[in-house]
């Protein structure tokens, strides 16, 4: 499989980034949920620290992914109604926005809460806002709302991919999978 996208499928860089981010997002949502439900204590601190480290990792990967996509256009989609093309384009665009907005709101929220973020204890992120409880609560609301949007869009995205693959049988899912060349 070539590194770059071809006319029929994504290359391994785009596929690798897609699936790696999928896995990290699942870990991330789980860590966030566990940490959110814990009372403040060492366990919550540790979970939150991991959540932040994974979040920073996702932000870094999002930058790489967006850069790669800008210089390496996706393979053309199989024929489908115009409304589906529009829906797909909007969903994909929203995913890119979320891949940046989620980590950034999390980062700002950490600073506003006076719990600065570090990447696996190796590098501390700068604080762009001062501690501020009101701001923290606002960012928390936004962060949590964005997660809900992400989950809904992910479900739509998966259902749409499965529908194309198994009902329309247009091979759309194979564009993002490594096996079987057409």
């Amino acid at each position: 499989m070539p590194a770059r996208n071809t006319a029929v499928r994504y290359g391994f860089v785009a596929q690798g980034l897609h699936w790696l981010i999928v896995v990290l997002l699942m870990v991330q949502v789980t860590l966030g949920k566990i940490a959110d439900e814990l009372p403040l204590g060492l366990e919550r601190l540790v979970m939150m620290a991991r959540h932040k480290s994974v979040g920073i990792t996702i932000l870094g990967l999002a930058v790489i992914r967006l850069g790669w996509r800008l210089f390496n256009r996706p393979p053309p989609p199989p024929p489908m109604p115009a409304w589906q093309l529009t829906a797909a384009r909007l969903t994909h665009g929203a995913f890119y926005v979320l891949l940046f907005a989620l980590p950034v709101t999390g980062w700002l929220m950490s600073s506003a809460a006076n719990y600065p973020a570090s990447w696996f204890g190796l590098v501390q992120l700068p604080d762009f806002v001062a501690p501020d409880e009101g701001l923290e609560h606002l960012l928390e609301e936004i962060h949590e709302t964005l997660v809900k949007v992400l989950i809904v869009l992910a479900i739509v995205h998966v259902l749409a991919a499965l529908k194309h693959q198994f009902i329309d049988r247009d091979g759309l899912l194979l564009r993002m999978l490594p096996w079987r060349t057409r």
Binding site: L40, L42, L45, M48, A49, Y115, A117, S118, Q124, P131
Partner: protein, 196 residues
Amino acid sequence: MAYPLIARILLAGLACAAAGAPRAPPAGGGEGDQRVGSLRFTAIQAGAKFTGAFRRFEVRFEFDVKNPGQGRLHVIVPTASVDTADPERDQIIRSADFFWTEKYADAVFHAEGFEPDGRGFLARGELTLRGITRPATARFELKQSGKRLAMKGTAQLRRLPFGIGQGEWESTEWIGDEVGVLFDLKLRPAPAAASP
């Protein structure tokens, strides 16, 4: 002969600059509390440094620039006044696992005799925290600002020798041992002969 005169002025200026002389020598020491300054600390949490503060404290400072060896510094900090911008975390810091403020209400630093150190001074003294007394050193610089004496400095401490962080909090993997202290005060002149 203007040249030697200019040279003399320049030399005098250089000597002043080298000795840090243009500022007026601070004298007499002073008193202060949270209304005239700040007492902050930094700690490492999950690999990231954050800053907190104590909202109440009292400082008594006796000082004579000609005889810093006879100076005294006495600081009392009610540790329940800790403020890290998160009431939940403050509650944990006040608990028996950290400051145990119910049993040990105050942290006390006391130093007698200061050593000149560059443009500032070292106050080698003793810090009592959570009922444990250990040597601690603060470094400070002084500057006269109007009637007030500006005192600014730092101290590097370790929390574990004082038992700050019990049980699971003893591990330094998530909460660092090193704690920095930063103070920035504008001391009022002390009432005459009020020193103990």
